[in-house]
C-alpha cells in the first residue's frame, strides 16, 4: 500500500524513501500540530503528539489505502492520539491541577486579528472568541473535533467523516449539537 501513499503524493517508485517522508512531514506538520493544539489546548502535548503522529504514520505507512488524502489520514491518526491522550487519567489530573486549559483560552482570545478594528470592536471580537472557546470546552472530544475541523480547518463533511472514522450523518449531528452550544454561549454574551 506504499504505492497508494506514493500515488497520493505524486511519487512513482515502489518504496517510500526517508527523504519523501521528510517532505510529507514538512508539508503537513503545521496543520496536524494546529489540530492537536486546538483539541488538547496544551502546546507541549501538541508538540509531543505531533511527533508521535508522524512516527506512527511512518511505521504504519503500509496501511494507507489511498481512500482519503494523506492529510486526512494524518489527521485521523492525530485524532486517535488525542482521544487516547484524553482518556489518560494521569494527564487529566495534572491538567486540572495546573489549570492548563484556561491559559490556552486566554492565549487564543488574545490572538484576535485587529488590523482595522476599533478598541471596542477588538474587545467584542475577543469576547466572541472566548465565548466560542468556552462553548468548545463544553463539547465532547468528538464534537469538538468535528466543530474545529469544520470551522477552523474548513474541511468538507465527507473529509471530516473520513478523518474521524464517522458516518457523514454522525458528523452532521455532532456539528448541529456543537452549533447549538456555541449559539447558547454567544446569546449569553449579548
Amino acid at each position: 500500500m506504499e504505492t497508494a501513499l506514493r500515488t497520493a503524493l505524486g511519487a512513482a517508485t515502489q518504496n517510500i524513501t526517508a527523504e519523501e517522508f521528510d517532505a510529507i512531514v514538512l508539508r503537513h506538520q503545521r496543520r496536524v500540530h494546529r489540530f492537536l493544539l486546538m483539541l488538547l489546548r496544551d502546546p507541549e502535548e501538541a508538540d509531543n503528539l505531533t511527533q508521535e503522529c508522524f512516527l506512527r504514520a511512518y511505521l504504519n505507512r503500509t496501511s494507507f489505502r489511498g481512500e482519503s488524502s494523506p492529510e486526512t489520514w494524518l489527521l485521523r491518526i492525530a485524532a486517535n492520539l488525542a482521544r487516547d491522550h484524553a482518556r489518560s487519567r494521569k494527564a487529566g489530573f495534572w491538567k486540572r491541577l495546573l489549570g492548563l486549559g484556561d491559559d490556552a483560552d486566554d492565549g487564543v482570545a488574545a490572538q484576535v486579528p485587529s488590523d482595522d478594528a476599533s478598541p471596542e470592536q477588538a474587545l467584542l471580537a475577543r469576547e466572541n472568541v472566548r465565548a466560542v472557546w468556552n462553548a468548545a470546552n463544553q463539547l465532547s472530544q468528538q464534537q469538538r473535533a468535528v466543530f474545529l475541523l469544520r470551522f477552523v480547518e474548513e474541511m468538507e463533511l465527507s473529509e471530516i467523516a473520513s478523518a474521524l472514522d464517522l458516518q457523514v450523518g454522525s458528523v452532521k449531528t455532532h456539528l448541529f449539537r456543537a452549533l447549538q452550544t456555541v449559539r447558547g454561549k454567544l446569546r449569553n454574551l449579548r
Binding site: 526517508a18 517522508f21 521528510d22 512531514v25 514538512l26 506538520q29 503545521r30 500540530h33 494546529r34 493544539l37 486546538m38 508538540d47 505531533t50 511527533q51 508522524f54 512516527l55 511512518y58 511505521l59 490556552a104 492565549g107 487564543v108 482570545a109 490572538q111 484576535v112 486579528p113 471580537a125 466572541n128 472568541v129 465565548a131 466560542v132 472557546w133 474545529l148 469544520r150 470551522f151 477552523v152 474548513e154 463533511l157 452532521k172 456539528l175 448541529f176 452549533l179 447549538q180 456555541v182 449559539r183 454567544l186 446569546r187
Partner: protein
C-alpha cells in the same frame, strides 16, 4: 431573530453547518434569522482566525519539529533493524548448537547381561523333571531334591526317602 422564536433556531444551525438547502431558503426570507446567522458566522470566523494565529510558530520551530520526527524515525528503524537481525542470528545459533550436540557420541548406559546361565539351568531342571516323571522315581518328583541335586548336594538317605514317600501317601 428574537431568542423566544425557538422554532427558527434549528434552521439557523442547519444553515450554519452548511448542509441544509431548506434552511438556507428560510434564512434568505427571514431577516432576524439572517442577522443571527451573520452574527454567529462572524464569531466563528474570528474564532478560526484567532486559532490559526495562536498556532503560528516561527520557522525554526517547524525545522526543529521535523528534525525530532526524523530522529525518532531513525531510532525506531534502528531498533527494528536490530530486532530483524538479532532474532534470525539467535535462531541460527540455536540450530547450530543443537546440530553439534546431536552429532556427539552418545554414552549408552551399561545394561545388565541377560541371565543366560539361569535360563540354561532352568531348562536343565525342566528336562530332569521330565526325565524323572518318565522314570517313575518318587524322589525325583521332589523339587527340593532336584534343587539340592542341582546345587551339588548328595542324594538323600533311602530310609528317609521311604518315610517321605509314606508321608506323601498320607
Amino acid at each position: 431573530m428574537n431568542s423566544n422564536n425557538n422554532t427558527h433556531d434549528p434552521l439557523v444551525e442547519r444553515a450554519l453547518a452548511g448542509f441544509d438547502l431548506a434552511a438556507e431558503h428560510h434564512i434568505a426570507e427571514c431577516q432576524p434569522c439572517q442577522a443571527e446567522r451573520d452574527q454567529v458566522e462572524n464569531a466563528l470566523r474570528q474564532f478560526a482566525a484567532a486559532n490559526r494565529e495562536y498556532a503560528q510558530r516561527p520557522e525554526d520551530f517547524w525545522e526543529l519539529q521535523a528534525a525530532r520526527i526524523r530522529a525518532a524515525r531513525h531510532e525506531s528503524e534502528s531498533k527494528s533493524r536490530l530486532t530483524t537481525t538479532l532474532i534470525p542470528s539467535l535462531v541460527v545459533l540455536l540450530l547450530a548448537a543443537f546440530a553439534i550436540l546431536g552429532r556427539a557420541p552418545r554414552i549408552h548406559p551399561v545394561q545388565p547381561a541377560a541371565p543366560v546361565a539361569q535360563v540354561d539351568s532352568d531348562h536343565e531342571l525342566l528336562l530332569e523333571v521330565e526325565r524323572a516323571i518318565h522314570s517313575d522315581t518318587p524322589r525325583a518328583l521332589e523339587p527340593a531334591t532336584l534343587v539340592d541335586e542341582s546345587d551339588g548336594n548328595p542324594p538323600l538317605d533311602p530310609a528317609l526317602q521311604n518315610k517321605e514317600t509314606r508321608s506323601h501317601e498320607n
